[in-house]
């Protein structure tokens, strides 16, 4: 890591993180609140020898990413909620063809055209595949601009390692806010030569990139192999941050920007002696099960989301009925405030 810090927005940090990780193909379409990503890529991709295309639509962009990834590139696209909906067919194909790719969703209010305020209402879409078929994406949720930079870099490595699409799930606040970021000095010796990629069949048998298996039993066989891959990822790639878990009577569960607000609430409550803790999932898929594996029946959880309640279902699954779970959410661009959180906790305690 260099000593130099630069002050940039979450969106720009994601773009810079990608370029630093050796991303050599970006295709996207403008949509608020992530336009800084496409603008940054337009300006800087060429300098790093990569390809930038403003596609005619989000769905053209994801299919260009499919092609670039099939040809061995480290490719990325970015959008916000309605645009991510458009990309679902392409994401399903990327998952089904076992291609690596990074997809950034800077969430806004929905459903439909919604608004351009921050939201966390695409959790289901992100963590339950999103498109058709039995597949998952790795989903990473940064909680700061530095983390947005770092996790974007990690996402390319994970995508290549497991041949899986990886999603960076941010929101409109994270995308716009500016914080100092320390850039990595690690020179990423990335190989765009992958044995399975399409590069022309010189010296080898032809490669085919596809997700179509018509022969009786072949698609089931393939799906079983995908699930085995997901099992390995579940075991190895779950990530979370835990605060004050050892003495907490109420544990808040929040991710991304919501976790920052939760931390402020915790800080205030701790200063008056209330034992409140936090589990901040950083990987939403695989969802970190381990910190919820606690026997104390008196413990309570408060899940806080900028949605009507999506991650809360994963918390319920992880808790498995052992403890009481409460929920606080605001939807359509509403953001739960520290006061709302504190008032809710006081009711629970």
């Amino acid at each position: 890591m260099s000593n130099k810090k630069i002050l940039i927005s979450g969106n720009e940090a994601i773009a810079q993180g990608a370029i630093g990780a050796g991303c050599n193909f970006y295709a996207g379409y403008p949509i608020t609140p992530q336009n800084e990503i496409i603008a940054y890529m337009a300006k800087h991709m060429v300098n790093s020898g990569g390809v930038f295309i403003q596609a005619e639509s989000e769905l053209a962009a994801i299919n260009m990413v499919y092609g670039a990834s099939a040809a061995g590139a480290r490719s990325m696209t970015s959008s916000s909620s309605p645009g991510i909906s458009l990309k679902q067919e392409g994401i399903s194909y990327i998952a089904g063809s076992q291609l690596p790719a990074v997809i950034v969703n800077i969430m806004r209010g929905g459903p439909g055209l919604g608004n351009i305020a921050p939201a966390q209402s695409d959790y289901f879409q992100a963590t339950r595949g999103g498109g058709h078929g039995d597949y998952y994406l790795i989903v990473l949720a940064p909680g700061s601009v530095q983390e947005a930079y770092d996790l974007t870099q990690t996402s390319f490595d994970l995508a290549d390692k497991y041949r899986i699409p990886v999603m960076i799930l941010g929101d409109g606040i994270l995308g716009q806010m500016m914080e100092p970021v320390r850039l990595s000095t690690k020179i990423n010796k990335v190989s765009h030569q992958k044995s399975w990629a399409l590069s022309g069949c010189l010296g080898r048998k032809p490669n085919i990139v596809k997700s179509f298996f018509l022969r009786e039993g072949a698609l089931e066989e393939f799906n079983i192999s995908l699930q085995k891959n997901y099992e390995i990822i579940r075991k190895k790639e779950a990530r979370y941050e835990g605060l004050f878990l050892s003495d907490a009577k109420v544990i808040l569960v929040a991710y991304g920007t919501m976790a920052r607000i939760a931390k402020s609430a915790i800080s205030q409550l701790r200063s008056i002696g209330k034992k409140i803790g936090l589990i901040r999932p950083i990987s939403l898929w695989p969802f970190p099960q381990a910190p919820f594996n606690v026997k104390n029946k008196k413990l309570k959880y408060l899940v806080i989301e900028m949605s009507s309640g999506q991650m809360v279902e994963d918390v319920r699954l992880a808790v498995c009925g052992r403890q009481q779970i409460e929920f606080l959410g605001r939807s359509g661009g509403g953001v739960p405030s520290e006061e709302e959180i504190i008032n809710k906790i006081k009711k629970i305690l």
Binding site: F25, E56, N63, A68, Y93, L198, G200
Partner: protein, 242 residues
Amino acid sequence: MEKIFIHPESLYDVPTHYCPGCGHGIVHRLIAEVVDELGIREKTIGVAPVGCAVVAYDYWKFDCSEAAHGRALAVATGIKRVRPKNIVFTYQGDGDLAAIGTAETIHAANRGENLTVIFINNAVYGMTGGQMAPTTLLGQKTSTSVEGREKEKHGYPLKISEMLASLPGVYYIERVSLQSPLEVLKAKRAIKQAFENQINNLGFSLVEVLSPCPTYWGQTPKEALDWIRLVMQKEFPLGKIK
């Protein structure tokens, strides 16, 4: 005696799933012959459509990618931009290129992507059971234009090649057919031109092939070729469009 008709190396010597008299078999072979003659098999990357030719990659002996229905030109753009020295082509039917994929087609052409496009126009959707295509002729009966295509309800047959020719980013467009050995050889010449254009970095090149679908036209293979010659070619005239 020596063998004078050579099976191309770029085509696997296997039976195909296509119907008797289907044009796909002929065009797959022409593409393979062209790739062999230009010596580019080890550089070529094909992008297959969704349609009867969805498994075209099982017949060609070079790198291939599948694409979602209509998205072949977006996929090909991604591949070519990352691997500009490879020869990248798409092989698409009338639904793939001119219905669901219209935006991707127009914009790849408008960007002047240095790609080769082989457009198989058989005026019907074969794989899904004979529905109306954008290029179905007025009066032509299909399973979704039961009384025949009517301009009031269904619009006119779409002349996508003529539309694309208006774009400055497009370098070459030619319409050919398979209705006789002479026309098949002309089709091969056009396909070769389209591949040579890419090798010479000349830009977006498209060959539209009027191809028979005997099954969904309700005709014998020979009748289907006659229908192309006597009826289809009047709506879709042959020749260099750009």
